[in-house]
């Protein structure tokens, strides 16, 4: 069996990464950048700046947040730094949360069913 400390540490690291993804997505400009990279993969910073009508410095800062969250992958081609959307962290979060809530809903329905059946049992007695 795994040591409890190890389990907690591994959880917190995954949760740290989830925090970074949620924080990165909690900004309209950054979501727009992801939309643009989805539509046109491999844009450089300059191309993104032109596309979004924003300041280079600001775009660069937002890109760093997206990179740190693993939502954008950078690839050097010669002297050009190209940016690609990495959808995996979004799918991971969607999976984890969707599954969590669908299980809760199923459990709630089962409880309701048990309660109703119990009441019905009382009524007929």
């Amino acid at each position: 069996m795994q040591h409890l400390g190890c389990i907690l540490e591994s959880m917190s690291r995954t949760e740290d990464r989830e925090d970074a993804v949620f924080a990165a997505l909690a900004d309209r400009t950054r979501r727009q950048m992801l939309d643009r990279l989805f539509a046109a993969p491999g844009m450089t910073l300059n191309e993104l700046v032109g596309n979004l009508h924003m300041r280079r410095q600001s775009a660069s800062r937002h890109l760093k947040v997206l990179e740190a969250a693993g939502l954008v992958i950078v690839q050097w081609q010669g002297r050009e730094k190209r940016h690609f959307l990495n959808p995996v962290p979004i799918v991971e979060i969607e999976r984890r949360w969707t599954e969590k809530f669908s299980r809760t809903r199923a459990a709630a329905l089962l409880t309701l069913k048990a309660q109703l059946e119990e009441e019905e049992g009382h009524d007929t007695q």
Binding site: C6, Q77, E94, T98, E99
Partner: protein, 159 residues
């Protein structure tokens, strides 16, 4: 085709998994693992260079297949990729998939594995990118969930 157009046709996906590289490697190369997260397919290969790789669907038929180009456990795996099970791309020449596993440390003594999947060398006018593009994130998210929580993705809830 220009260099940047070429780059847009390459598909690249990254995930970080809280598991040792050896476990990630095992999950990528053994049927007992792949059937639990990789669209319920069972992978079959000796993983020797030049040998076939086959992904068997439930009825034992081959869905996707390829040929091992390079295998260096637990760091790098590369094979060609064909999809004879799909009429849309059945007759296309093979593309190429590679898996790069890097150990990363969080500085607190624990380590995780960064898995990078690159799918490239699509033939001209290939329909494969649109087909596998949405699929890889699901496979990788399923792999991460399985190795970190032991849970198998619920395919019925997927759209």
């Amino acid at each position: 085709m220009t260099r940047s157009e070429d780059a847009t046709r390459e598909q690249r996906f990254v995930t970080v998994i809280d598991a040792a590289g050896e476990r990630v490697w095992e999950a990528l190369t053994s049927p007992e693992f792949t059937c639990r997260y990789w669209h319920a397919t069972r992978v079959r290969s000796s993983w020797q260079t030049g040998d076939p790789v086959e992904f068997l669907v439930e009825d034992g038929e081959v869905g996707c297949c390829g040929e091992v180009l390079e295998s260096r456990p637990p760091e790098f795996l590369c094979y060609t990729w064909s999809f004879p099970g799909n009429p849309l791309v059945r007759h296309e020449p093979p593309s190429r998939v590679s898996f790069t596993l890097q150990t990363i440390s969080d500085g607190r003594g624990a380590s995780a594995t960064r898995l990078t999947v690159i799918h490239d060398r699509f033939p001209e006018d290939s329909r494969m990118p649109e087909m596998v593009g949405p699929g890889w994130p699901l496979v990788l998210a399923g792999l991460k969930t399985l190795l970190e929580t032991g849970r198998t993705p619920d395919y019925s809830s997927m759209t």
